[in-house]
């Protein structure tokens, strides 16, 4: 993996994580290694100082094409003897899962700017974020079920929170990819942005939340987003 696969910068109190690993952020074993290190750094910075928000985006055309299924099968094959022996899910899974689900616990707004393909475990990064701004060209989905498995990094839980049981049934069980328009229709996406306009919208949203002066928590994300939209109508 290239040295600069995960770049963390800070602009006016907003952390920006740009993912630009090989193969359009194909989630290989080395991707996960770099991702976990980057997220550990995010966690450390969040503890050290007051941040206003975080933006996650892909450095190229795509957010992430998701996990390398062969690598996933290989990793699981190594873990299964431990599972059979102890009856417990391997610790490595919980460590990996933590670096997805902790995004939802951060005390400041976390916005994923979704471009191009945002698939499988890649879509779980976006789903664990508090907000998803989706550019017009995006194709999103959790196709794990079509490979005989399921999304296990918070994808099912967060699909229910964002789209309700009504749509999570379709998104998770069918595993079909969907467009930006469909993402907005089922409210998986907060909004659709024009090409290359997603990051600007994310900054605007974070600025609005900062400007309210109110305490921010993830469970109030929808409330803040509604007020953000109302502020733009005036």
């Amino acid at each position: 993996m290239n040295e600069q696969a995960f770049v963390i910068t800070e602009e006016e109190g907003i952390l920006i994580l740009t993912m630009q690993a090989e193969g359009n952020n194909l989630m290989t074993a080395s991707f996960f290694e770099g991702y976990e290190a980057a997220m550990a750094e995010v966690e450390k910075r969040a503890e050290e100082k007051a941040l206003r928000g975080m933006i996650i985006c892909g450095g190229g055309r795509h957010f992430s094409v998701g996990a390398d299924v062969d690598a996933l099968s290989e990793r699981s094959a190594k873990e299964l003897p431990e599972l059979r022996e102890t009856g417990r899910i391997p610790e490595g899974h919980f460590r990996q899962k933590h670096f997805f689900t902790f995004l939802n616990e951060l005390p400041f707004p976390v916005v994923s700017v979704v471009t191009g393909f945002c698939i499988g475990s890649g879509s779980e990064i976006a789903a664990n974020s508090h907000f998803r701004i989706v550019e017009k060209n995006a194709r999103i989905g959790q196709p794990e079920s079509t490979f005989g498995i399921l999304p296990a990094l918070g994808g099912i839980a967060r699909s229910i929170v964002h789209t309700g049981m009504q749509n999570a049934f379709d998104v998770v069980v069918s595993g079909e990819l969907f467009s930006a328009d469909r993402a907005a229709e089922i409210l998986w996406a907060n909004e659709i942005a024009g090409k290359k306009a997603g990051k600007e919208r994310a900054v605007k949203l974070i600025d609005f939340i900062t400007g309210t002066g109110e305490e921010y928590t993830a469970d109030k994300a929808a409330y803040f987003y509604r007020r953000f939209l109302e502020s733009e109508v005036v």
Partner: protein, 191 residues
């Protein structure tokens, strides 16, 4: 009433009231998904039936072309609703159940009173076929060619949200993933 068993779901045709379904509930043991065609149904409030429906461990899909003639209290007992048109916001209620069924943002929109329709409450089916055929096609498409074991695990994950909590879904996801991975590995070794 006809109980039609498919590989991954069970379809109920010609049911007149939920009590009729309840009286044959043993026939639904072990299923993953129930598709109930409801255009011939009438609401008949019954606490025992309501309690049973709220606690079942399979996904419940209610389909009715004229879905707005049913009350929110009745429709919200189901996990998924298929209709011929959106459901009016004035008939829905922004409560915890709505939030679970439709999502946080839909709940927020309904609470704000800014929408004429209840967001995410009904999946509108369109097309030239009969409504029952469209509902059947929807469930067939979603279930696809999964195995029964996979369908049960997916169902368990989704129902954990309804019968327990979102935290329970996170646990169910992890357990389900490794159960399915173990199955895949065994299948690959057998080939």
């Amino acid at each position: 009433m006809i109980i039609q068993k498919h590989k991954l779901f069970t379809e109920i045709i010609g049911c007149k009231a939920l009590g009729e379904l309840y009286s044959e509930k043993e026939k639904l043991d072990g299923i993953s998904v129930l598709l109930l065609h409801g255009d011939d149904m009438e609401e008949a409030p019954d606490d025992a039936v309501t309690s049973w429906l709220s606690a079942v461990d399979f996904i419940t899909v209610f389909a009715a072309e004229n879905i707005s003639r049913f009350s929110y209290e009745f429709l919200s007992k189901f996990d998924v609703r298929l209709g011929g048109a959106e459901y009016p916001a004035s008939s829905a209620r922004a409560d915890d159940r709505y939030r679970l069924l439709c999502g946080d943002m839909a709940y927020e929109v309904l609470s704000s009173g800014t929408s004429d329709t209840a967001p995410n409450f009904v999946t509108v089916l369109s097309g030239e076929e009969s409504f029952d055929a469209k509902a059947l096609a929807y469930v067939n498409r979603v279930c696809g060619d999964k195995t029964e074991a996979q369908m049960k695990i997916l169902t368990r994950c989704l129902k954990a949200a309804a019968n327990d909590s979102i935290k329970a879904v996170l646990t169910a996801e992890s357990e389900g993933f490794y159960a399915l991975m173990a199955q895949k590995t065994e299948d690959a070794a057998d080939e």
